[in-house]
């Protein structure tokens, strides 16, 4: 019998290696997998490259992982927020490398990895600092920049409900990066508020089919933390 439900977050994360690229879902704290991040801190993997939209809020979740000194580099679209003091201090001290990626390119680069796309031309960022020295091309009168996929070793995401085959549904805007990160990583671990029996999730309404999810952990609280300030 296939059962992707793990007994604990510790068990689900036991094989994360030093130097791994870890995708972490969430937009601010909506959809942030707090339980899995805490388990990753306890697990001890270091020299990580983190892919996320933000660079942590307050002192919990992703901010706690940064504070623990486990992250060598972060790829994100919007690190600077009013409550990103942990990241700000590490960055100013030169203790973390930052790659800023426009939000839509970040999502599409992750999706591309999951979809087997070798690279793609995006109009976003053309003519700006963030295009770097990458190849550009004019197609039908519009200018594009060549963007490469971002492949994760592990994705840590939060969903609302899951079943033992790994099928997921999300809750409201907490969906954000979950579905693309599930595709873009070799091992996807989802924390869910509720585990349901096979067949309970309507096949027409499943957002992430189980093929993209390797492990599921049930967590206690029903929704995320309080929303952080911008």
């Amino acid at each position: 019998m296939i059962d992707k439900i793990k007994a604990s977050a510790a068990e689900a994360l036991s094989d994360v290696k030093d130097g791994a690229t870890v995708m972490i879902g969430g937009f601010g704290t909506a959809g942030m997998p707090f339980t899995l991040i805490d388990a990753l801190i306890a697990q001890g993997a270091k020299h990580l490259t983190v892919v996320a939209n933000n660079a942590g809020n307050g002192d919990t979740g992703l901010a706690a992982l940064l504070k623990a000194g486990r992250v060598r580099k972060i790829l994100c679209s919007f690190p600077r927020q009013t409550d990103s003091w942990v990241f700000d201090e590490l960055y100013r001290a030169g203790k973390i490398e930052l790659e800023v990626v426009p939000q839509g390119n970040l999502a599409e680069r992750i999706r591309a990895a999951g979809a087997g796309i070798g690279a793609f031309y995006s109009p976003t960022g053309y003519g700006t600092l963030l295009a770097g020295n990458r190849e550009t091309r004019r197609i039908n009168g519009r200018d594009y920049v060549l963007e490469s996929p971002i492949q994760g070793d592990v994705a840590l995401i939060r969903a609302h409900k899951g079943d033992r085959w790994g099928n997921l549904v999300y809750r409201k805007t907490a969906r954000n990066f979950g579905p693309v990160m599930a595709m873009g990583a070799r091992t996807t671990i989802a924390e869910v508020s509720e585990v349901v029996a096979l067949g309970v999730l309507d096949p027409e309404a499943i957002i992430t089919p189980g093929i993209f999810v390797q492990r599921i952990v049930k967590v206690a609280d029903a929704t995320g933390q309080q929303p952080s300030q911008e």
């Binding site: 937009f27 601010g28 426009p102 390119n105 109009p123 700006t128 600092l129 954000n176 693309v180």
Partner: protein, 226 residues
Amino acid sequence: MSATLANLKKLSRNEMAKRVARDIPEGAYVNLGIGLPTLVANFLPEDREVFLHTENGLLGMGPAPKQGEEDPDLINAGKQPVTALPGAAYFHHADSFAMMRGGHLDICVLGAFQVSVTGDLANWHTGEPSAIPAVGGAMDLAIGAKRTFVVMEHLTKAGESKIVPTCTYPLTAKACVARIYTDLAVIDVTPGGLLVRDIVPGLSVSELAGLTKVALADGREPPAGA
């Protein structure tokens, strides 16, 4: 005759937002950026159906919830609690940015540090070495909608024009701005240059051009009956 800043009747932030709202038609798919653009939603008439998109994954965004009814899983791009209207839809980030990049949104309203005479936009980074760069969805938004509107104060606190020959701040996108709403005027960016469409009472186009320090043509409709 010369307009001084002291006696000009500038539009307030709410009046600027209201002026933008006037130009958003029934049925438009619209993304409102963080800050001043967010205020535009307060001035869309209730009988006008406009679809508000927020790039973190919601189409059909409603107003802020009542106190005590906030849901941490239901937020806007500024990470503030919002509501979802009947008929709203949630989607993931790649779909959300496909809506932009793919040209499905009709209008995007953004704030700005500077807009150039050719519609280049600078609104994400001051370029100061000490500033931590953070772009979010700004570059995707700027190039994504069919029309990009900018709403901003006309002058900086130091009195310098934010409409410039060439942006000195790092660019968000090139030649993307269709229309600029300021506290002094509404100005279209056209292949032939900047066209003033609307101006506050008591200010002439030539006086405005003096303050702005770029060429402005008078593109106002003649008054009815003239």
